[in-house]
Symmetry: C2
């Protein structure tokens, strides 16, 4: 597939690496003139005579002025990310120098790239479909193993392949219906209605799975918010530290990781748990939870996707726990009950005492059963869905298009139930195919593309 | 020159681009195992069979897990920055992915690079001398055309070449003296003392120039602080705005420039003028400058490298200006006198009135003669030295070593005056050569190197 829109034959330039001081920076040039423009700034060699996929060391010069000592990476169309001639200039990591080089490229006829324009060109040149292009942005933003895995799977075409399955079934259905239309004069049903129903049902099952995966996709992409609450001295801070210290130790092993993002964020099996600031709840909630103030506290807790209710196993009666459990249930709060300070006690006896299949017993101070707790947290969030489905919908645009496909499919089924003629069924099927095509970008328009790519960073 | 220190035969890895989210990031691997380690993570191709200076697209995998879609740049020893086998992994600009890839490299036997270790290896492998290596850090930090030009000149070996001139003269001297020593029994002076004196003098002149350039070098590297002072309503804010608006327009033309650095910084002909916060002075100084409070105000002004004394040409008498001028002179403050609000007046008459060769006449509001003022500011700082000397000393370590060379040379001259025997003169000459060698790194030690490179960023 190759769609050519107007205004795409010029050459664009942008800094592709994060701004700021570093050892090196990379400036990317793409377009028909990319090699000529670089060549004018690179007296050491004639770049137009060099092969694709080669590296060239030398000085970048603007007239007499030496801009920098650089290495140029040369990619000739169509063997590049964008599918166009591309030169990547690897220069020293000084913002001043990068500005000078970009300025020199602009002076020679390039234009500053818009956000996502390199990827947009890759899409327009048929190097990626739209779901793959969108996964590029997800991949860059990925910060856990789960979000990374989902994005890289989508880049490799996993999501497109899953859609292709649905699409193939619908095309098969469509072909049968169209065949029937050709012979409509004769009023025969070539297309076996039972077979049609089966095709639609299969497609519906796949769609339902994809739609269902969106909740998980959201969790994977955005993480979930969790509130640790409990009475004073239940051990909330100890638990928080036990979580964070472990996590921090792993993260800070490699330099360059931003501290900000790990301050109150836990990464468990690739799912990000953001510990929302419930200082107020932590300090006050449980004192009031059995009082009149209970509603207000519950509202706060409801902002969290998950509440971790921590209690001191030695200071809490099964009756008290039961009260809390009931309140949580009434308020429809997803809650994990955690009995703390079990060290020194008989675990079996405790479990019996609290009659609790749904209580996790830990000792935050020593880290006892912390791993079990983490597994419970993940299970609570995912409901055991991890690994069950490889292809996961993470993108709201895809989700809404899939919903439309589902609606149109339901219309087809209803149509068959009402014995609608084949040409009307065919219309609904075309609607399905239209929505599927919008997801992968086979059917699209410039405004929509501009909107999608405007969310990318510059240089991508 | 190739110095091999212990512990330099392993393979190092680091992120070479600035940390943070961007379109792409580059991870650099260098060392004997760099290609093998990348090859283990790159199932698409056998990298060991590929030529140097080539680019390879494919997936980076750790076992079954796909880490990223990457392009590898392959450099084979000695044709690389470090002089070792080097692989640069161009991956997506996600800190999470970069961490995963670096982790995978470490898992396969690489070790996290220390700050500046790539450049240190380049030095140890004779790809750069020490002044060139140090210029790499300067180049990365360069933020004006002047600092950039100085650094790139040093990287290209300009400073080393200037030192080589001095060194060659001293070696010539040394050779003559040594020859004499061989025949010392015969008590003949082979080395013509006049010629020796000339050689030393020439070297001294070059040294003096280099030493002298350090003040300019400091200005180029660090910028200079300037305080705009004057009575209320002299037009200080208008001048500041006139400066900043022009400058800002230029800087913000290309995206990615940090706003912080331009807030109160002027770049005039590549020299950074940092307008230090003299709010206090601005508001009060001139009211008190003729009073008892004058000393305190002057002390504040003395913190600035340059004072811009602005006055309203219509509200100031030549006598008042004379008083200020005298005070500045007594306090030894470098000051530029600026007559503002000259629009509507006869310039010639004004110049006559203030008998002022040293006053710059402007109208800040309309920008009249702002360029002249800028030229004056640069001239005040550089004392007309710009362009007079291409090679500029910017590094304190070099400056101090050059001072030692100068001292030793003076000892040689003194020795000749005192008719010291040739072998003693030779000792002093060797001292000179020793200090010169320390600058370029021909003579050095591990501690000193570690110190120098520890100031680099990681990945360089």
């Amino acid at each position: 597939m190759s769609i050519k829109l107007s205004g795409w034959d010029d050459t664009i330039v942008a800094l592709a690496t994060p701004p700021g001081i570093g050892a090196i920076g990379v400036i990317r040039l793409s377009g028909t003139e990319a090699i000529q423009i670089s060549n004018q700034l690179f007296p050491s060699k004639d770049l137009t005579q060099q092969s694709s996929h080669t590296l060239h060391f030398g000085y970048l010069k603007e007239g007499d002025k030496t801009l920098d000592e650089v290495v140029l990476s040369l990619y000739k169309a169509p063997r590049s990310y964008t599918g166009e001639n591309t030169v990547e200039i690897s220069c020293h990591g000084s913002p001043y120098i990068q500005q000078q080089i970009i300025g020199a490229c602009i002076h020679r006829g390039a234009r500053l790239a818009k956000p996502g324009e390199f990827t947009q060109r890759a899409f327009l040149n048929g190097k990626l479909d739209l779901t793959q292009a969108e996964a590029v942005a997800d991949l860059i933003a990925s910060n856990t193993s789960a979000s990374h895995k989902t994005a890289i799977n989508a880049i490799r075409g996993g999501f497109s392949a899953a859609l292709k399955d649905v699409r193939d079934q619908l095309l098969q259905f469509s072909a049968l219906i169209e065949l029937e239309l050709d012979f409509s004069e004769e009023d025969v049903e070539f297309a076996d209605r039972t077979r049609l129903r089966n095709l639609i049902e299969e497609a519906q099952v796949k769609l339902a799975k994809l739609l269902h995966s969106f909740q998980l996709g959201n969790v994977i992409r955005n993480g979930i918010s969790a509130a640790i609450i409990g009475k004073p001295n239940a051990g909330k801070s100890t638990l928080l530290n036990a979580f964070l210290n472990e996590d921090r130790a792993i993260v800070s092993e490699i330099a360059g990781t931003t501290r900000d993002t790990i301050e109150e964020v836990l990464n468990i099996d690739g799912i990000l748990f953001r510990l929302i600031d419930t200082a107020g709840i932590r300090a006050r909630s449980i004192d009031t939870i059995e009082n009149a103030g209970i509603l207000k506290s519950l509202q706060k807790m409801q902002q969290a996707d998950l509440v971790l209710y921590l209690f001191d196993v030695n200071e809490t009666t099964p009756g008290e726990l039961e009260t809390v459990r009931r309140e949580m249930s009434v308020a429809n709060i997803k809650c994990l009950f955690i009995a703390n300070k079990i060290d020194g006690s008989n675990e079996e006896a405790l479990k019996e005492k609290f009659e609790a299949a749904d209580v996790t017993f830990i000792a935050a101070k020593t880290g006892l059963h912390l791993d079990t707790l983490k597994q419970e947290m993940v299970a609570q969030v995912l409901g055991g869905e991890v690994g069950a489905e490889n292809v996961i919908v993470t993108n709201a645009r895809h989700y809404h298009a899939l919903q439309e496909v589902q609606k149109a499919l339901t219309d087809v089924t209803d149509g068959m139930n009402n014995k609608l003629p084949g040409d009307l069924l065919a219309l609904d099927i075309r609607r399905c195919l239209q929505y599927l095509g919008e997801i992968t970008g086979e059917i699209t328009n410039e405004d929509q593309l501009d909107y999608i790519f405007s969310k990318f960073c510059i240089g991508k």
